[in-house]
């Protein structure tokens, strides 16, 4: 696999692969520790049985586990420790995993779980025997399985092959400009495909990953202390993270004097963020990209120009990257529409994943083989149009949303809120301001009157929901109503619910 070959070359240099606060992991160290983990997996009968789940945040040793699994010929499943233990166990069970490395401690006591202490011993011990290179994940082998929010209330797996990742890295590399090395931001959770920009894009260019963990995001005082010492040359994040940073007046070029470019992915990039970046980072390029997990991180790119910022249309998602073809078509059709027409975006090419993990029905619905080109394709459910060769994202055909850069199916939240005691039904509405979902409001129907004040009830429901959902999926406001307005189809009429918010005192 290309990334393992690249690490093998880089280990002969004195380059640093990852910075994590005071910690430094060299490429030589990364290779050694990955090799030790691979050797342990192969020696261990449970280890060699199936995918390796890695549950944590931004721990330094997350990386050796990733590349160790790949060296041993096993896919890895990155899971963010922001999830409650029950949801993590669902993923472990759906993935059919062999062993789980648990940095979080959420799973201590479960079977086949390796603690950080045990992992540390494994990574430090020299490999007992060489790991045969022939075993490595390659070609169409699955390299990782990423679980996203599923509309049935249970996470849905997307397997990504070694070939998919190579196709992605080939399309992404030109965005990093000329020359090897530099420092790239490593903030996006490893459980989300956007982290592939630093993990596969950055490492294949011999860069140093500069880590920002959840604790730093929660404490800007700590975040800015480290950012000032980062030497960052390439920023990769969701627009939401940059917006949080924008709230600090010191987030300007002098803080990051070496920064050459911002690369955004994962959600709508607003005009207002582009304008602020142009004012505060006059020397940095701003690149917008787009792509669903099902097509491996990103399949479009464009450098945002002054003209685009002045245009009243949304910031475009850009042109297809190398190896990708895009089409706008009517729902259910493969025939491209004319320029300027709105339709569903179809993605074809080497980035398109093999399908959904162990879900043939859903796979057949969304993925296809295009006979005309021989390419594999994916129906995104994203409504787009093309004008003058540039693609624009206009919205979703279903109730999937992006919030704070996270991909969320509203039904996933609704299913899980209804699991909370005394909640019979829930409807979740995103509150949109300045062209972007800013927070969620849940309207709930109680089974019986609970006599609680609105805030006490909201706190109690949030606490119970946290047993089923990660924090970022729990609505900011929870409002109990007496009855749900129904539309003609008999479904909850969300427009009427949204109107309730406008009438109220909600900011």
């Amino acid at each position: 696999m290309f990334i393992l070959d690249r690490i093998a070359q880089l280990k002969k240099t004195d380059r640093i692969a990852l910075i994590n606060r005071e910690e430094r992991l060299s490429y030589a160290g990364l290779d050694e520790r990955s090799e030790a983990f691979a050797a342990w997996l192969l020696k261990n009968p449970e280890g060699a049985r199936g995918p390796v789940v890695i549950c944590g945040g931004k721990e330094t040793d997350f990386l050796p586990c990733v590349f160790g699994a790949l060296k041993a010929g096993l896919p890895y499943v990155p899971v963010d420790a922001v999830n409650p233990p029950e949801r993590i166990r669902e993923i472990i069970s759906d993935a059919g995993s062999g062993v789980t490395v648990d940095f979080s401690g959420l799973l201590s006591g479960d079977c086949d779980v390796i603690s950080p202490g045990e992992l540390s011993d494994i990574l430090q011990s020299p490999p007992v025997a060489d790991v045969p290179p022939g075993l490595r994940v390659s070609g169409e082998d699955i390299a990782c399985i990423l679980f996203t929010s599923g509309s049935m209330g249970r996470p849905r797996g997307v397997p990504v092959s070694a070939d998919n990742l190579m196709s992605f890295a080939g399309g992404f590399s030109p965005l990093l400009g000329e020359g090897d090395g530099g420092v790239i931001l490593n903030q996006v959770s490893y459980a989300f495909d956007v982290s592939g920009c630093s993990l596969y894009g950055g490492i294949s260019r011999g860069m140093t990953l500069f880590t920002v963990d959840r604790e730093m995001v929660a404490n800007p005082g700590v975040l800015f202390h480290w950012l000032a010492r980062s030497g960052l040359t390439a920023w990769v994040s969701t627009p939401s993270f940059a917006e949080i940073c924008m709230s600090a007046d010191t987030f300007r070029q002098p803080l990051l004097p070496l920064l050459e470019r911002f690369i955004f992915c994962g959600e709508v990039l607003t005009h207002s963020l582009c304008d602020q970046l142009a004012a505060r980072f006059p020397n940095a390029q701003v690149i917008n990209t787009y792509g669903p997990t099902e097509a491996t991180v990103l399949v479009t790119e464009v450098t945002v120009t002054q003209e685009m910022r002045d245009d009243s249309r949304p910031i475009p998602i850009g042109h297809p990257t190398k190896g990708t073809q895009l089409r706008v078509a009517e729902e259910g059709s493969l025939v491209p529409l004319e320029d300027g027409c709105q339709g569903e975006l179809l993605i074809l090419g080497g980035n398109v994943a093999p399908g959904y993990y162990r879900q043939p029905g859903l796979t057949a619905e969304r993925f296809f083989h295009d006979q005309a080109t021989g390419l594999r394709g994916y129906r995104t459910g994203d409504i787009c149009c093309r004008e003058n060769g540039l693609f624009y994202f206009l919205g979703r055909a279903d109730s999937q949303i992006k919030l704070g850069g996270y991909r969320i199916e509203l039904e996933d939240i609704e299913h899980n809120l209804a699991l909370v005691k005394n909640v019979s039904r829930a409807a979740v509405i995103p509150v949109v301001e300045k062209g972007k979902a800013r927070y969620l409001v849940a309207f709930i129907l109680l089974e019986e009157e609970d006599g609680l004040s609105p805030l006490t009830r909201a706190i109690s429901i949030k606490k119970q929901a946290a047993e089923f959902l990660p924090a970022y999926m729990i609505p900011r406001k929870i409002i109990a109503i007496d009855s749900f307005p129904l539309g003609v189809s008999g479904k909850t009429d969300k427009k009427s619910l949204a109107a309730l918010l406008d009438k109220g005192s909600a900011p």
Partner: protein, 80 residues
Amino acid sequence: MKIENEIMAILNELTGAEAGELEPALDLFETGLLDSFGVVSLFVEIEERLGVSVAAETILRDEISTPEKIVRRVKRAAEC
């Protein structure tokens, strides 16, 4: 009292609480009422309504985890 009242009003709007419901010592993060995005909105509102700007790059969660701590933090910024 102006700072207290205005901050409580903003917090009520952000969290969906009714007047008087939010206890001064309630942990807003532990209860899931605030997150990083909520914090950004909170300080934007504070700046707009009170004209007090808290340098975001210095914020630590421990210093703003309850309504009374937020009041204290904003007063400190107002004195600077």
